[in-house]
């Protein structure tokens, strides 16, 4: 089996696995007064410090959540109150479903946000919250965040950045990003599922309005006992993540081989995540490609997986004006541990599939 769907969930890093097991054995509730509680609290705070340092934030400004989706929703809830919402057209559903009715910021054919349009939208009314992802989950396209942040500050708008796919794959530094909040997720960088975090600007973090008040954990910003094993694994994965730039060589090889077999790359020619490529095969439904590759032992994805498991049409590729290709593209996302053998296995399966299906489509 060849796993090339890291953007759905990364392969677990051995450091993270070890940290999860150690925390499971460590026990304790960080809120407890006694020795076991103190031990748990120490592990929680060490994890917080470690992750904050890794991504350029202050530990006191980092709120643990159940994952990237909750971090995004918390940001919209806490920072968006009383503000207009401006949301990138290719944002993840975590953001889109929390910002219904928001003004949509258009993207170009490669998926890059139109900064002129952002300038106009910011000038249209009162204080706004802008939601923009650092890197797109389907194409890997990176947004011009420094410039977007500057426009937001000039207009008095807040900026929330979904860095779930970028964190651990490209350099991410909250302090210099120019954002007011940033969402990250454990399992997208090789940690276990079930933990994420929202980093919040120092000026906003203290009184952040919780989504879940509960027992006042996370300094009143997120109720509920924190999942210490997941958080410990998250921190270990964050420390271990990095060096993904080398994946670009493998990704480019996969891409070139696929193009030679008839694929069209969507989102090419702009800064991208090193591990991601979006490959359309004209005339062949994305669903059929994903199934054919899976039956050949190669695991990729397409569009956004609904809980029904059906392959839904991609709003990201539609927003990029991909036309019919929006329903004919798969996402190949290399995990941190990918090697040349994975690319070779992918290309072998892809060539066979493309030869059979393209002929039928023609």
């Amino acid at each position: 089996m060849t796993y090339l769907d890291a953007n759905a969930t990364e392969t677990l890093r051995p450091e993270a696995r070890a940290a999860v097991l150690a925390a499971l054995d460590g026990g304790g509730n960080p809120s407890s007064v006694h020795a076991a509680g103190r031990g748990a609290r120490r592990r929680l705070e060490e994890a917080r410090e470690s992750i904050a340092e890794r991504f350029g934030g202050r530990p006191s400004d980092l709120v643990f959540t159940s994952g990237g989706t909750e971090a995004d929703v918390l940001a919209v809830h806490a920072l968006g109150a009383g503000r207009r919402l401006i949301v990138g057209a290719t944002e993840h559903d975590a953001v889109r479903s929390a910002t219904r009715g928001a003004a949509v910021l258009a993207v170009d054919g490669a998926g890059v946000a139109d900064l002129e349009a952002l300038r106009r939208l910011l000038a249209e009314g009162g204080p706004a919250l802008v939601c923009l992802m650092l890197a797109n989950n389907e194409t890997g396209t990176m947004q011009p965040m420094t410039e977007a942040g500057r426009l937001c500050r000039q207009a008095g708008a807040l900026l929330h950045v979904d860095a779930v796919q970028a964190a651990g794959r490209v350099a991410v530094d909250f302090a210099t990003l120019g954002a007011d909040s940033m969402a990250i997720s454990s399992h997208k960088l090789g940690g276990p599922q079930g933990a994420g975090a929202l980093l919040v600007a120092p000026t906003l973090s203290a009184g952040l309005a919780p989504l879940i008040a509960g027992g006042g954990q996370e300094r009143g910003r997120r109720g509920g006992t924190p999942p210490l094993p997941a958080i410990a694994g998250f921190a270990a994965a964050a420390r271990a993540a990095g060096g993904a730039a080398a994946l670009a060589v493998l990704r480019d090889a996969a891409e070139q081989g696929a193009v030679a077999a008839g694929a069209v790359v969507l989102g090419a020619g702009v800064p991208r995540l090193p591990n991601t490529t979006c490959l359309a095969l004209p005339g062949v439904r994305a669903e059929t490609q994903v199934i054919a590759l899976d039956l050949a032992g190669v695991q990729v994805s397409a569009g956004a997986a609904c809980s029904s498991g059906k392959v839904a049409r991609s709003h990201v590729l539609d927003a990029m004006g991909a036309g019919a290709l929006a329903g004919e593209a798969i996402r190949v996302s290399l995990p941190w541990c990918a090697g040349q053998a994975d690319v070779a296995a992918f290309l072998l399966a892809y060539r066979i599939m493309a030869a059979r299906l393209s002929r039928r489509a023609a």
Binding site: E287, T288, I291, A292, D294, L295, C306, S307, S308, G309, K310, V311, A312, R313, R356, L357, R360
Partner: protein, 355 residues
């Protein structure tokens, strides 16, 4: 061999997947997402997938086979639901299950099977596919109570050649449930599905009214001579041969009257004496499962109808059916040709030509 199994989440197709897997085939389960279940049942925020898709996946998990959900919503809407409403608006009585079998299931899934390198498509339909001198033949199921051959007449010979119907030889439904139970399938005692899948609780008139409002508008009930004898509440609620919902028009001088025609253009229900009918029925979109020729055979004009003796004559654009005894045939329904257990073909009943 590699077999694609169309799994609905019900006991029949689950048993098919289980039996083929048990026989050592590489089974790939697919479930068609035909419509947004949340929207169809009117529950806001409900998942687009219904319980049936969940059940199909659980059966596949149990069997340890690959399973995929295929998004066929747009195709189903265009090929089945829209056709269903349009047909009612024309004054016909459509059979959406035949349209679905003809398009979404056998056309598209046979193509998908080929795309995925599967040699056969298998379904849970109760019919038999037998090999004869002319190639693959379609036959009635062994269990007459479950036979679905009428609904599958439009399956082409090329499709039939690539299809398996493992339940056609089962003695009855209880035997299928017993097999499902023996295989430990979680759906072994699931109730049978009812009615039209995309119509919640049998309110098909609402579906038609939403898509073709004119078919739900009231109009006149007239005699064949044009005399207005009553009012109706939308032609979509009527079918040729029907005696109900006619009110005062249901009787004339002690004689019972039934619907003899539906005039979609003028939104009229036409009534005539019960027992009237014609000997000639014209068909279009005829599918021949034997070389087209004049046939002396038995025909079935509705799913629950009995067999009627007739002669079928191929024409340039369909076929003419000359019945031994007159009958009221409903346009839009299927007329299927049988010789013994074998299905020789069939077509859709055309509206009578204007005289």
């Amino acid at each position: 061999m590699r077999v694609l199994v169309a799994m609905s989440g019900g006991v029949d197709s689950s048993a098919v997947a289980g039996l083929l897997a048990e026989a050592g085939h590489e089974v790939i389960g697919v479930t068609l997402q035909l419509y947004d279940h949340g929207a169809a049942t009117g529950r806001k925020g409900a998942c687009c997938a219904g319980q049936d898709i969940h059940d199909a996946r659980r059966v596949a998990d149990h069997l340890g086979i690959a399973h995929y959900v295929i998004d066929a919503e747009a195709r189903f809407r265009d090929a089945v639901i829209t056709d269903f409403a349009d047909s009612y608006a024309r004054g016909e009585t459509p059979v959406p299950c035949i349209r679905c079998n003809q398009t979404v299931k056998f056309n598209d899934l046979v193509a998908l099977a080929e795309d995925l390198g599967a040699e056969r498509l298998a379904t849970g339909h109760y019919v038999r596919r037998l090999d004869g001198p002319e190639g693959a033949e379609l036959h009635r199921a062994v269990d007459p109570a479950r036979d679905q051959s009428w609904f599958l007449f439009a399956t082409t010979r090329a499709q039939l050649a690539r299809t398996l119907f493992p339940l056609g030889g089962m003695p009855d439904k209880a035997a299928v449930r017993a097999e499902a139970g023996r295989l430990g399938l979680p759906v072994a005692s699931k109730p049978d599905s009812q009615d039209i899948c995309f119509v919640p609780q049998g309110t098909y008139g609402d579906v038609v009214a939403r898509l073709r409002p004119e078919a739900a508008e009231p109009g006149e009930i007239v005699t064949e001579a044009g005399e207005v004898v009553g009012r109706h509440d939308g032609i979509a609620r009527y079918t040729v041969g029907q005696g109900k919902r006619l009110g005062m028009a249901a009787q004339a001088g002690g004689e019972r009257r039934v619907v003899v025609a539906l005039d979609g253009a003028r939104r009229r229900v036409v009534v005539g004496p019960a027992g009237s009918g014609t000997r000639l029925v014209r068909l279009d979109e005829v599918n021949w499962l034997t070389p087209a020729r004049t046939l002396r055979c038995a025909v079935k004009l509705r799913s629950g109808d009995s067999l009627r003796a007739a002669e079928v004559v191929p024409t340039a654009d369909g076929a003419e059916v000359h019945l031994d005894a007159p009958v009221l045939a409903a346009p839009g329904q299927a007329c299927v040709f049988y010789q013994g257990t074998r299905v020789l073909g069939g077509g859709f009943i055309c509206p009578p030509q204007p005289v």
